[in-house]
Chain length 178, copies 2
DNA sequence: TTATTACGTCAGGCTTGTTGACTTTCCAAC
DNA sequence: GTTGGAAAGTCAACAAGCCTGACGTAATAA
């Protein structure tokens, strides 16, 4: 097992093309990686504080977010977006339902399905959680400017694999990028 | 408890200024939030596969990454960057040392300190893990272009809080942004 | 000498994830 | 109308990865 013996350092040409790749040093890439790590941690810090107060975790946040995003979505659909097992989600979902934040109604088309909705209380928590992240994002967007924001989104989307991108796009109201 | 009753929708003016904030709708912000969520998941997927093979987790990856980044750093310093407890890190570090990926030498200046280094084997795993992420990042960078990359980094940095930004900058070889 | 720091470790607890097995309900196809 | 399978819920057991609290040891600093 010997990895990357030839790619030890500096300018990784990386492709066959070699267009204008001068900026793609391993240093640059590594900084991008680290920026993701630190930014993501900062990004989840605010909601985590609120959630801890209420004895919830990030899993609850994610469930609440996507139920809010698409009211009436089924358990299977939610399972698909979150990428976890039924059992894992169920535990979280059960507490949310018991606590009166989520409502589970029998499916209209198919009575086997359960359609998930936020209650007024659940929607209130969603707003509270999201607002902290929006505030952070808003501040970052204002500081960086519209052009930077476009680049930010462009790179993030380019980082997603096919399947993830599909899920991401499925959520969009108005797809802009063909 | 009633949150954000007034901010329900659309164009959040958000500041007192109102410069050229037309692009900052709640929709835009929400998409940014979701892009972070999905991109981060895609971003960690490749290393996770390799780590699972070896019965390691993300915690091991993070430790390896930062030890590689700054060979000889002390346990306390590592604790600070990772933002976890001593006990939590110790379990991870112990297995890495037992498995011969990390070496812990007695501090030169201060004999209480332990300075951490990757062994040849540890460095090999680091390269293997990082290369998957670099490849993804490289592809995304190439697809999006240099300008987008600049924006990407700019927004991520603007998202970090003071303390996180300090840690992030402390790693940099050549700080560019004043 | 004493206080403090750096590190390691034992114990116990929580959340979130996993597998595997099983039941109930319901749709749909034969 | 029976039957096969999908959707959902549940029980049990387990592991990773975090946490707090308490304690011990070694070495530096006051």
């Amino acid at each position: 097992m010997r990895y990357g013996d030839a790619m030890q350092n500096k300018v990784s040409v990386s492709g066959a093309g070699g267009e204008s790749l001068l900026f793609l040093t391993d240093d640059q890439l590594r900084r991008g990686i680290e920026a993701m790590f630190f930014a993501y941690r900062a990004f989840t810090a605010d909601p985590d504080l609120i959630l801890a107060e209420l004895d919830y975790g990030r899993a609850h946040h994610r469930a609440i977010h996507f139920i809010n995003r698409e009211p009436g979505l089924t358990v299977t659909a939610l399972l698909d977006v979150l990428g976890v097992t039924k059992q894992s989600l169920n535990r979280v979902l059960r507490t949310l339902i018991e606590d009166g934040l989520v409502e589970s109604r029998i499916g209209r088309r198919d009575r086997r399905e359960r359609q998930l909705y936020l209650t007024e209380q659940g929607a209130a928590l969603e707003r509270r959680l999201t607002e902290t992240q929006r505030a952070r994002m808003r501040a970052a967007y204002r500081a960086a400017g519209p052009q930077a924001v476009a680049g930010f989104r462009q790179v993030l989307e380019a980082m997603m694999d096919r399947d993830t991108l599909r899920q991401y796009r499925a959520l969009k109201d108005l797809p802009e990028t063909p």
